[in-house]
C-alpha cells in the first residue's frame, strides 16, 4: 500500500522505489494483455483525456488503449498543428475538459512546461506525453523497462550511452534522468553542436564527444533520431558525415560489452543514426520497446489514479 503518484510531468515526479513499483505493475499489465480478455475493471469510473497539441497518433493511441484496457472512459482532444496561440488556447481547452470530470490529462505539447501548467490549472492528474525538448517520461520508462525485461544488468551496474542528437531530444533528457536515478552510469555522446554542455550538470551524467570512448564497456546503447526538422541552423555538415562519425554500426557496437543491448526510441532513420543490421540484430530491443509501451502506460495510469490521498 502506498500513496498514489501525484503527477507524471517529468522523471522528477518519480523516485527509485516508485520506478521499481511501476515496473512490477507493468509485469502484471503485460500478463493481462496476454489473456483472452485483455481488459481489467481497475479504472472503471475514471475518465482519462488525451490532449495532443502535437501530432503523435501512436503515442496517443497507446495511452488511450492503456486507459481502456483498464475500463476507464476516454476523451480525445487532438489538435494538429500549432496555429492557435498556445497559452490561452491550452487554458481554455483544459478548463472546458475539466468541466467534463476528467480524472487524468495526458498532455503532449510543443512548448516545454505545458504539462506543468495544466497541472496548476486543474485538480486532475497530469501525464506528460512529450513537451518540447523537455521531457517524455513514459518513453524513458518503457525504454528502461524493456532493458530490464530483456535481462539487462541491474541498473546500478549498467553503463548506458545515449548517442547522437541529444540537443533536440526530450527522450534523451528523460532517459538520462531516469537511468541516473536508478543508479546507472549515464554517458551522453554526440557532436559538440548536438550536445548541450549544460547537461553535464545532471547528477550521474557525463558528456563525451568521442563515440568510441563512450561505447567502451557499455551495457545499453541508445542512438537517437537525428531531428532535422527541429534544427534551427546547420548543426551537422551532412547526413553522410554524421553517419560516418556517429552512426551505431556493428563495428562500433563491438566496442560495447558483449551482452550490450541496443535501444532506439523511434522513429528510426535507418542507416543514419543506426545501421539497419544493428537495428534488426540480436542485441536490438526495438521490438520489445514498442511492445512495452502499452503495459508501461497502463501501470502509470494505475499508479496515478488508484488511491485518493493526493488527488
Amino acid at each position: 500500500m502506498s500513496a498514489p503518484l501525484a503527477h507524471l510531468r517529468d522523471v522528477g515526479d518519480l523516485d527509485e522505489g516508485r520506478v521499481h513499483a511501476l515496473f512490477d505493475t507493468t509485469d502484471v499489465m503485460a500478463q493481462v494483455l496476454e489473456r483472452p480478455v485483455k481488459r481489467v475493471p481497475a479504472l472503471q469510473g475514471f475518465t482519462v483525456a488525451t490532449l495532443f497539441f502535437e501530432d503523435s497518433t501512436r503515442t496517443r493511441l497507446s495511452f488511450e488503449r492503456a486507459a481502456r484496457a483498464q475500463s476507464a472512459d476516454v476523451m480525445t482532444f487532438a489538435k494538429g498543428g500549432t496555429s492557435l496561440s498556445k497559452g490561452e488556447s491550452l487554458y481554455d481547452t483544459v478548463a472546458t475538459l475539466a468541466a467534463l470530470h476528467v480524472d487524468a490529462f495526458v498532455v503532449r505539447h510543443p512548448a516545454a512546461g505545458a504539462p506543468h501548467q495544466v497541472a496548476r490549472w486543474t485538480d486532475a492528474k497530469v501525464v506528460n506525453a512529450g513537451d518540447g525538448r523537455h521531457a517524455h517520461p513514459t518513453q524513458a520508462l518503457l525504454d528502461a523497462y524493456a532493458y530490464r525485461a530483456a535481462g539487462g544488468r541491474p541498473f546500478d551496474a549498467t553503463k548506458v550511452v545515449i548517442l547522437g542528437d541529444v540537443a533536440h531530444s526530450r527522450v534523451a533528457r528523460s532517459n538520462a534522468a531516469l537511468w541516473a536515478m536508478l543508479g546507472a552510469e549515464v554517458v551522453l555522446c554526440g557532436p559538440p553542436t548536438l550536445l548541450p554542455p549544460a547537461l553535464a550538470a545532471l547528477p550521474g551524467v557525463t558528456l563525451e564527444h568521442d563515440v568510441e570512448r563512450a561505447l567502451e564497456g557499455a551495457h545499453a546503447v541508445m542512438p537517437l533520431r537525428l531531428q532535422r526538422e527541429r534544427m534551427d541552423a546547420a548543426r551537422i555538415a551532412s547526413m553522410a558525415a554524421y553517419a560516418r562519425h556517429y552512426q551505431l554500426d556493428a563495428a562500433r557496437l563491438a566496442l560495447a560489452d558483449p551482452g550490450a543491448f541496443v535501444l532506439h526510441p523511434g522513429p528510426m532513420n535507418r542507416d543514419v543514426e543506426i545501421e539497419g543490421a544493428v537495428a534488426d540484430g540480436p542485441r536490438s530491443l526495438v521490438t520489445a520497446q514498442v511492445a512495452a509501451g502499452l503495459p508501461v502506460r497502463m501501470a502509470v495510469l494505475y499508479h496515478l489514479l488508484v488511491g485518493k490521498e493526493a488527488a
Binding site: M1, S2, A3, P4, A21, D24, T25, D27, V28, Q31, V32, R35, P36, V37, R39, V40, P41, A42, L43, Q44, G45, F46, Q70, Y302, H303, V306, G307, K308, E309
Partner: protein, 189 residues
Amino acid sequence: MSGKATLLDARELDRALTRIAHEIVERAKGADDLALVGIHTRGVPIAERLADAIARFEPARPKVGHLDITLYRDDLTEIALQPVVKRTDVPFDVAGLRLVVCDDVLYTGRTARAALDALVDLGRPAVIQYAVLVDRGHRELPIRADYVGKNVPTRRDEVVKVRLEETDGVDEVVLDERPADAAGAGGTA
C-alpha cells in the same frame, strides 16, 4: 504476538485442511480435471497445501494457480491508499476445469466476487467452488463457501488473523480486537 483467542492451532489447522482436501475430491468424484487457485496472499499456501494433501491419497497432484484480484476490486475509486498489484500465475487453461478458489478468511464476500470476475476472464471453467479456512460471517454479497475449515461467529470490531508458516513463520488462527488505528500484522480480515 498472542491474540485474544486461538481459533485453530497448528494441528487443528492441518486437520481442517486435510478434511477439506478429502471433501473436494469426494465432491468432484476424483481429482481429474481439478485445479486449485489460491488468492494472494494467504490463499496461495492454502491452495498448495490442499494440493499436497490430495496428492497423498490420489494418483496425481492437482494443478495450482495463484490469483491476484487487485485489478478486480470494487473499491478502487474510493480507497485512500494504492494496493500493490501482484502477479497472477495460472499456468494452465482453465476452460472445462473444476476450479476450487482458496482463501484464508471469508468475510464480506467482496474478494470472492472479484476472484470470480478475474477467473472468468481467464476462460470458461466447468465449475468454480470456494474453499476457506475460516468463515467469519458478515456477508455483503450473496456468496457462500463450498468448503469451510471452521465457522466462527464474530463481531465486526474483531479481526481474524490467519498466520501460516510460509508467510508468517507460524501456523495459527486467532481472534483479536481490531486495533483502533489500523489492521495489525499478519493476515487480517
